[in-house]
Symmetry: C2
Subunit: 346 residues, 2 copies
DNA sequence: CTGAAAGCGCTTACAG
DNA sequence: CTGAAAGCGCTTACAG
């Protein structure tokens, strides 16, 4: 018998505990789960016995009978090469973990490479019964996940969704910092201010661009050129090489995220333009990279970890049968780097 | 009755399929899982019925009876603030997913903030019966997880472990690229070459430093100064401000990873040193950031995604009762940036 | 408060 | 090849 591995030691079950304590199964279950239905005295005896036997409840057993998985799902859709440099990712997951691990829930993480695959993942998470709820993160305009998840009856909480969605939502409003960033540029004398946007299908791209536009109008300025980027460094670089060759070129550019802003700055440098003497640039996110580069970036510090914590708490409530109110966390606060200066004289 | 949610529609079970097809439960199970024990004709009839009824097997039911979870676990231990800028993370997870999602396995991801918590996580993953196997990633010297996991009887595969560990292992040898990087510097006339290491407790810190040392000796050179870093940007910056104030200061520095190398370069710039005219710098990892900075970094391109794919395949084999051989993937290849130049004349 | 029983949805010997 | 039955480890009415 070469195999004396762990398989041999049979698991201690709740039945063993019940027998050892000399009480019924139901009493044992109630005692161990802090449910009413047992006297304090018996409860204590049962709990002691359980500890003595080294009983630890089987998730599989609980799952089947309680029809819960004690897991929640997060599906992240990314182009492969982008994932690596994505700051949102790690922070967001950390925030989720901070909440759910204390509730004995676990995170099932899936990576998807296309919208079709993403929908397939949600569908399968549901049909397998693998999770009790999911996040609706990085929503697109008319995101197909919303209808799917509703149809599947899968509990969900949305992150920064439009209010129209029928899911509990947590948001950190980007329009305030984008207004502030735009006004900062205006206050420095800039009048021709461009925008490097994210992909048009994303809700958050839209919100950010809209805030920039509104602020320009508010101050009686015509909106500058817009480049439709993709949230990547390379996209930012391309934006610079396109936008900054126009005449007249903008003297300042509001970028939809930090990574593009950093790429934009490099693109400007490659064209021989100085930051901020020739061009002022702002970002959004507050990633570490924005403090590594020179000049350091003017941006707004978002808080994905906080956002995730709120979202996870809401999802835990839903899973427990609750109906949480929508939540809002404070808007990202402006971080003053050195990438913004006074508008150059004409 | 206000609630007409998804709860109302009862799940289609294998019993329903068996009844509808007019056969026994066992035949149905065999047919649906492509196990022998049913005639081809009945199998087809059963499969057709299952599809007709929209049957999709319940993971919970399967789990309980098969004593499998169809999940594997990855525990990542990080200081909170480091996680965000960690490139390893996203790539590694992507690699895992590429393998397991096709096998109907899912990844349970946990974030831990201390070694104590990490051990607790492994312990709980095992006692809950939440996963069928785990990764032993980012191993420390005498890593306590190894003994724990063995004791728990938890199937595991190790990433870049020392050979002495009794787990199937996949590695990408770092000593080759570190020798090459060191020799590149030597070939440029450098003789006083320093090293910025990772935390001493990590196996991979040790391997990298050792390769640098060996190469120096091989070429009859005395090893230069060593700074014990922490793999962060700030750590690299501190290394520069400490090491580059010494007299004589090294003319080249081999950093244990890219993030520290990037910080080191910034630290040098802050001291008024030019890269590579005054100091040459190398990294390791090949993160995107290394191409964003100027000068671009000389480094080695690792492949965490590939590493993860191999590891995940091995874990899948173990879970299926196999005993995979150790694997090796090709070493990271040198990426020539502009951070290395000829040694300055004395 | 306590106990015996059914059930969650599968898999797997075992007998025919 | 096919079928009836037990079992995985829990929870949850239900009756006492």
């Amino acid at each position: 018998m070469p195999d004396k591995s762990a398989d041999s030691k049979r698991r201690v079950t709740i039945v063993d505990v019940a027998k050892a304590a000399g009480v019924a199964l139901s009493s044992t279950s109630a005692a161990l789960n802090n449910r009413p239905g047992v006297s304090d005295k018996t409860r204590r005896r049962i709990v002691a016995k359980a500890e003595e036997l080294g009983y630890t409840p089987s998730l599989r057993g609980r799952s089947l009978s309680s029809k819960r998985t004690f897991s929640i799902g997060l599906v992240i859709q990314r182009d492969i090469d982008v994932l690596e440099s994505d700051p949102f990712f790690g922070s967001f997951i950390t925030g989720i973990e901070e909440v759910i691990s204390h509730k004995d829930y676990a995170l099932v993480l899936q990576i998807s490479k296309s919208e079709r695959e993403t929908l397939e993942r949600y569908r399968k998470l549901s049909s397998d019964g693998r999770v009790d709820g999911v996040f609706l993160n990085e929503l697109k305009i008319n995101d197909a996940r919303a209808e799917l998840v509703r149809e599947l009856g899968l509990p969900a909480v949305a992150i920064n969704s439009a209010n129209s969605l029928q899911f509990p939502n947590v948001r950190q409003d980007a329009s305030i910092p984008f207004r502030q960033l735009t006004e900062l540029l205006i206050s420095q004398g800039h009048t021709n201010i461009g925008h490097v946007s994210g992909p048009q299908e994303f809700l958050h791209s839209y919100v950010r661009q809209h805030a920039w536009e509104q602020t320009m109008h508010l101050h009686g300025l015509r909106i500058g050129p817009v480049f439709h980027g993709d949230f990547t460094y390379e996209g930012g670089k391309r934006a610079a090489s396109t936008m900054m060759r126009q005449t007249p070129r903008p003297t300042a550019v509001v970028c939809s995220n930090d990574l593009m802003a950093v790429g934009f700055i490099q693109g400007c440098k490659d064209l021989g333009l100085r930051i901020p003497q020739d061009v002022s640039v702002t970002g959004y996110d507050g990633i570490a990279l924005s403090t590594y580069i020179r000049p350091t970036l003017v941006t707004a510090q978002t808080n994905p970890r906080h956002l995730a914590r709120e979202a996870a708490e809401m999802l835990m409530q839903i899973v427990d049968g609750g109906h949480p109110e929508n939540r809002t966390i404070p808007p990202a606060s402006i971080v003053l780097g050195n990438s913004v200066g006074r508008a150059p004289h004409k």
